[in-house]
């Protein structure tokens, strides 16, 4: 018995001495590392960064990333995030506001650009969110999908963004883990995971356990070593200020009636105020009959897109972004069961109200209230719809 106790104490002693020696080693080495000034930052710069127009995604184009980060950083520019409604209408906010009113505005996205991708993009430049003018164009149709698709994730969340999310010390673990969990849940849908992606996902998995020794040690070590322990570099964007003059003529209401008339004129072959060509191509079947306009029910229980929306909303609110939302509508002349989205729209409004976030609810299932031109077709914004958004933006931002 005595020998056992002796043995036990000897092991503990040996372990303790080894641990102390190791701590001393790491501690003294940290001085060397902090003095050696290891540069872990990669700088991304470009000659131009836009103040108008759209950027479809961030794939294979570092200027795209720079445009986005610049847009978020410039407090006088409005950053518009949306999906398939981002067309080339001269009345779209990212054209009309800069071109006619001299207000810098840029749109980002194409179809499938949904709230989780937006959340990741904004999280990657979260230090620049404060007071940034950001407008999110919500499509109710997103909420019948299973959330952001991996193809969209790859296009909209480039590796530089992922590295920033991983490395940013200010970003909360919950937010990092939200991205990590997404990656880990969709692991099979990516051809491979890059190192920062793999690290985000494994950290999220580890943190799901109550206590992870390795994460605790790493946190402790990073106090001494900081950036040197990071596997990936910090990304710094060299952004430039813009110099567009803001014109003072804001009399935009005169446009509305003209745009309504124009929309009615463009809809020659139907009484739904749908663009003639769109109607012919998309709404008629091979027998010339109108396809039924039925929308799928939204299941609000465990709705992934809605959870992503809450993440996004929380990010914008907690970083004090000067953000606003637009809930887009569908065409009530075409869709027969628009009440399928009632609960969703109510929930969206409830959450936005709760967050004190300004929003424009364009959702309207009443045919008599539908103004022709709000949509070009059955779901994509028309010129008049864009003008309604422009009016909302000017009012929200007091411009």
């Amino acid at each position: 018995m005595k020998t056992n106790i002796n043995w036990f104490f000897k092991e503990i002693l040996a372990f303790g001495i080894a641990a102390i020696l190791l701590a001393i080693l790491f501690f003294s080495f940290s001085f060397f590392v902090s003095k050696s000034n290891l540069s872990q930052t990669k700088t991304i710069s470009g000659s131009i960064s836009s103040i108008r127009g759209t950027q479809a995604n961030f794939e294979s184009n570092k200027n795209g990333e720079l445009n986005f980060v610049s847009s978020v950083q410039r407090l006088n520019q409005i950053t518009i995030l949306g999906s398939s409604e981002m067309n080339d209408s001269p009345y779209a906010s990212y054209h009309f506001l800069p071109d006619s009113l001299g207000i810098p505005a840029m749109g980002f996205g194409h179809a499938f650009h949904q709230t989780f991708a937006m959340f990741c993009e904004l999280l990657a430049c979260e230090q620049k969110l404060e007071n940034s003018k950001i407008c999110i164009l919500l499509s109710p149709g997103w909420f019948v999908t299973e959330g952001t698709n991996t193809e969209a994730f790859v296009e909209f969340v480039p590796q530089n963004f992922i590295q920033n999310i991983l490395n940013n010390q200010q970003t909360s673990n919950e937010e990092k883990d939200a991205v990590g969990k997404y990656i880990s849940q969709h692991k099979e849908d990516f051809t491979s995971l890059t190192k920062p992606m793999a690290e985000l996902s494994s950290n999220a998995e580890k943190r799901e356990q109550a206590f992870s020794i390795s994460l605790t040690i790493k946190k402790w070590l990073s106090k001494g070593y900081g950036d040197a322990l990071q596997n990936t570099r910090n990304i710094k964007y060299l952004t430039k200020e813009n110099t567009l003059d803001i014109k003072k003529n804001r009399a935009i209401d005169s446009n509305f009636k003209a745009l309504e008339t124009l929309a009615i004129r463009k809809s020659k072959n139907n009484n739904m105020f749908v663009d003639s060509n769109y109607f012919k191509v998309n709404l008629l079947d091979e027998n010339g009959k109108i396809r039924p306009g039925i929308i799928a029910d939204v299941n609000m229980e465990n709705n992934q897109e809605f959870e992503d929306f809450l993440l996004l909303l929380n990010l914008l609110k907690s970083r004090h972004a000067n953000a606003c939302f637009v809930i887009q509508t569908l065409n009530p002349h075409y869709y027969e069961n628009m009440e399928a989205y009632d609960e969703l729209v109510q929930n969206l409004c409830k959450e936005l109200d709760k967050a004190g976030m300004p929003y424009l609810n364009m959702y309207n299932k009443d045919k008599s209230q539908y103004v022709p031109g709000t949509l070009n077709d059955v779901m994509h914004l028309g010129d008049l719809g864009w003008m309604q958004i422009n009016r909302f933006l000017l009012k929200t931002y007091g411009l």
């Binding site: 020998t3 056992n4 043995w7 092991e11």
Partner: protein, 392 residues
């Protein structure tokens, strides 16, 4: 099943499981000695592992049942001294596995799933244990109890890749049971455990991640040489570490699992090498391949004694190559090891015959030893490099 499948020592789950096993055995020793006999406890614990954690539990149980009844039948009806037939019968599932894994089946073939039937983790070592058991026990009367058979063949720490134990030795340990569990054996186990962790999870892992997987294959000689030595180091630490872990868990629960690696790179000749590298396999091959082959050649009066020895050696190692798998690189590496042994055996014979050192001449003993170690190390590195399958 409700648990993730884990092979021995492949994930933290396995260590947790073994921790529980050790704890249960210690508790039984303290309180339940009279109620739960040691050999029944061992059987239950192995069965639990197979049932909940081992991939393909039914396959391995099928294999065990086949091997057991094959063994009983052979003991009852097969009276010949010739061990070829029993060896073939007992290793039939393994041979089928190795043979079928080399065949490509078309999608429409109705028996395309047959290979999966025989692909059981640890099948080769299991078959080796059963063959050893048959040969050792064939002249001894009495029935071999299924529980003893099961405990021996399915002992969890050594289930997958050894060390290869002997039935008598193992069963004696099991019979001594709880009284084998002493603090000195436990402490020995703890030392083996720590060293095993260092070898397998730190050194082998570091060599693999920092060196082996960072080598860039530019086709140059330098690349192949770097790969050869790095792979040898990796294989040694990985395998020796694994063996130490198996030995340590054996020690914790009162089983003296035989050692497997003993400073192999200090070997001065092939004979010594196989006493130091994968020792339990070296002994197994000597007892069950080399000796019977040599005896057979002697009975048939083939050639001279030295020729018989050399042929038996060469065939033994060639068979070892086949045992690793029916791929060319395994077979060639086995033959290479055979060739080393034959050359050394002949050299040793010539030295003895001429009563002088025929290769090193008048070099001092110290130099001869140094050069022998150097040559042996490089020969081994080359054979293991062939074994790795990097070249072909």
């Amino acid at each position: 099943m409700w648990f993730d499948k884990v092979l021995p020592f492949s994930s933290p789950t396995f260590f947790v499981f073994m921790g529980i096993v050790v704890l249960l055995v210690l508790i039984s020793k303290a309180f339940l000695q009279k109620i739960v006999p040691y050999r029944i406890l061992m059987g239950l614990l192995s069965l639990t592992y197979i049932a909940i954690l081992f991939p393909k539990p039914f396959h391995i149980i099928g294999l065990l049942v086949y091997s057991y009844y094959c063994l009983l039948a052979l003991r009852k009806w097969y009276k010949s001294e010739n061990i070829v037939l029993p060896m073939v019968l007992l290793s039939l599932p393994m041979l089928l596995m190795k043979f079928l894994s080399n065949i490509t089946f078309s999608d429409t073939n109705w028996w395309k799933h047959t290979p999966e039937l025989f692909q059981i983790a640890g099948i080769s070592y299991l078959v080796f244990r059963v063959i050893g058991l048959y040969i050792d026990e064939r002249s001894k009367p009495g029935k071999i109890n299924f529980l003893d058979f099961f405990n021996f063949t399915s002992f969890v720490p050594t289930l997958l890749i050894g060390p290869l134990d002997r039935f008598q030795r193992f069963t004696t340990d099991v019979k001594s049971g709880y009284s084998n569990i002493t603090s000195s054996l436990f402490l020995q186990g703890w030392n083996n455990f720590l060293l095993g962790l260092l070898y397998k999870f730190i050194l082998a892992e570091a060599i693999h991640r920092l060196l082996l997987s960072q080598l860039v294959d530019d086709g140059s000689i330098l690349y192949h040489l770097s790969y050869m030595y790095t792979y040898l180091m990796y294989l040694f630490f990985d395998f020796a570490g694994y063996s130490l872990l198996a030995i340590s868990f054996g020690n914790f629960i009162g089983i003296h699992v035989p050692i497997n690696f003993d400073k192999p790179f200090a070997a001065i000749n092939p004979k010594e090498f196989w006493k130091r590298w994968h020792k339990s396999l070296g002994e197994w091959l000597n007892d069950y391949f080399f000796k019977p082959l040599f005896k057979f050649f002697t009975q048939k009066k083939y050639g001279t004694s030295i020729q018989r020895q050399n042929w038996a050696l060469f065939l033994t190692f060639t068979l070892m190559g086949f045992w690793n798998g029916f791929q060319l690189h395994y077979i060639v590496s086995g033959m290479l090891f055979g060739l080393y042994s034959v050359v050394h055996n002949y050299y040793f014979y010539q030295c003895k015959k001429q009563k002088k050192e025929v290769f090193f001449g008048h070099l001092s003993e110290k130099w001869i030893k140094f050069l022998s170690i150097f040559i042996m190390f490089n020969l081994v590195a080359f054979a293991i490099y062939i074994f790795s399958g990097k070249l072909f």
